[in-house]
């Protein structure tokens, strides 16, 4: 944990949701790692260091939420494709439901505070 991160909830939140964003971006298709990483880093404020996505992808692979295949590339070495598995799909759906409940509860509480 980086020093100072302890009191910043956004850092923790980002770390918590990042894997589900990865799953969501994968959707039902196959993606190259590079494209996936770029899409993620284009999301506002989500990713500070693109390189850290790769260990996350490795872990998702080990957890069985993501699978990879190799595709022959005409000009150069074979490249890795990533896609979501059924387990990953289920996890994403569960997170989606949890997140909707959580975020609406936070919104309500913040609104109540404002009035």
């Amino acid at each position: 944990m980086e020093p100072g991160a302890a009191r910043n909830p956004m850092t923790q939140l980002r770390r918590g949701v990042l894997e589900y964003l990865v799953l969501s971006l994968l959707g039902g298709e196959r993606h190259y790692g590079f494209d996936l990483v770029r899409q993620l880093s284009d999301l506002d404020g989500m990713v500070v260091s693109e390189g850290t996505i790769y260990p996350l992808l490795s872990r998702l692979r080990r957890d069985g939420w993501v699978s990879t295949t190799w595709a022959e590339s005409g000009s150069g070495p074979p490249r890795r494709y990533y896609e979501m598995t059924k387990d990953g799909q289920r996890a994403l759906e569960q997170f989606s439901a949890d997140w909707r409940r959580f975020s609406s509860a936070v919104d309500r509480a913040l609104q109540a505070g404002e009035s």
Partner: protein, 245 residues
């Protein structure tokens, strides 16, 4: 131009490899191949046309140390300089208890009793474990050693001259030897040895249990793959309780 970029990329990969040196080699290789592929894709996408663009690609990837830290995180390894594991409150208590129950029992009765007191005042053992630690063996291995020295003839052999430890007299009396062999190597010796071993094993078991509970109590990652040096340091710190720990 392309050699400058290749040079930059090669040095970056080296830096990542160095930062990830303590990862298991399979994971490190996997990470490096992914970064290599990323750099190749960036080149193919035309993002690394000149030196400035190449540097941007590397900036976006991030610091090698950050990437290695993320890899360690996902693998459940300790970060270097993470001292949370051995700054556990009260772990010295359990260590002291185990030490007194074993080594301390050489100080007859008193040493062992101190160990028992520490055993029973610990928060980290269940009652039945404490009972086991007390009953196996009362007095500790130290008392067993002393008892072994006291049992007459328990260390005699029966081939020729022998020393009766109870009286300190040397004897070649076959009768004494025969009698002694009833108490001696035949019975008391191995029994006492077994008891001493059991006692030590129980103490070790208690220590391991305490350590596992200490580690589980805080959200510190498991010590899988940490360097032998790191583990030795944590053991030394544990026993010395010094400020550096």
């Amino acid at each position: 131009m392309s050699t400058v970029r290749d040079d930059l990329f090669a040095r970056y990969l080296d830096a990542v490899a160095r930062a990830a040196a303590d990862l298991p080699s399979e994971r490190r290789e996997e990470l490096l191949s992914e970064i290599r592929e990323h750099l190749g894709s960036a080149e193919r996408a035309g993002d690394a046309g000149d030196e400035a663009a190449a540097r941007t690609v590397l900036d976006r990837l991030g610091e090698p140390e950050e990437i290695a830290a993320a890899a360690r995180d996902e693998a459940g390894l300790h970060q270097p300089g993470d001292v949370r594991e051995w700054r556990q409150p009260g772990r010295g208590h359990e260590t002291a208890a185990v030490l007194m129950l074993t080594v301390g029992s050489l100080l007859p009765v008193l040493g062992w009793l101190v160990g028992v007191a520490l055993l029973w005042t610990s928060q980290r053992w269940r009652t039945r474990e404490k009972v086991l630690g007390t009953l196996i063996v009362p007095g500790g291995p130290g008392l067993i050693l002393i008892a072994g020295a006291m049992v007459p003839g328990s260390l005699t052999s029966c081939s020729g001259e022998s020393i009766d430890l109870g009286t300190g007299l040397s004897t070649t009396d076959p009768q004494v030897c025969t009698t002694a062999s009833n108490y001696g190597i035949g019975v008391a010796g191995p029994l006492l040895l077994a008891a001493a071993l059991l006692s030590i094993m129980t103490a070790v078991l208690l220590y391991v249990l305490a350590r596992r509970r200490v580690a589980a109590a805080e959200p510190v990652r498991a010590v899988a793959g940490s360097s032998p040096w790191g583990r030795w340091r944590s053991l030394v710190c544990c026993f010395s309780d010094s400020a550096g720990c």
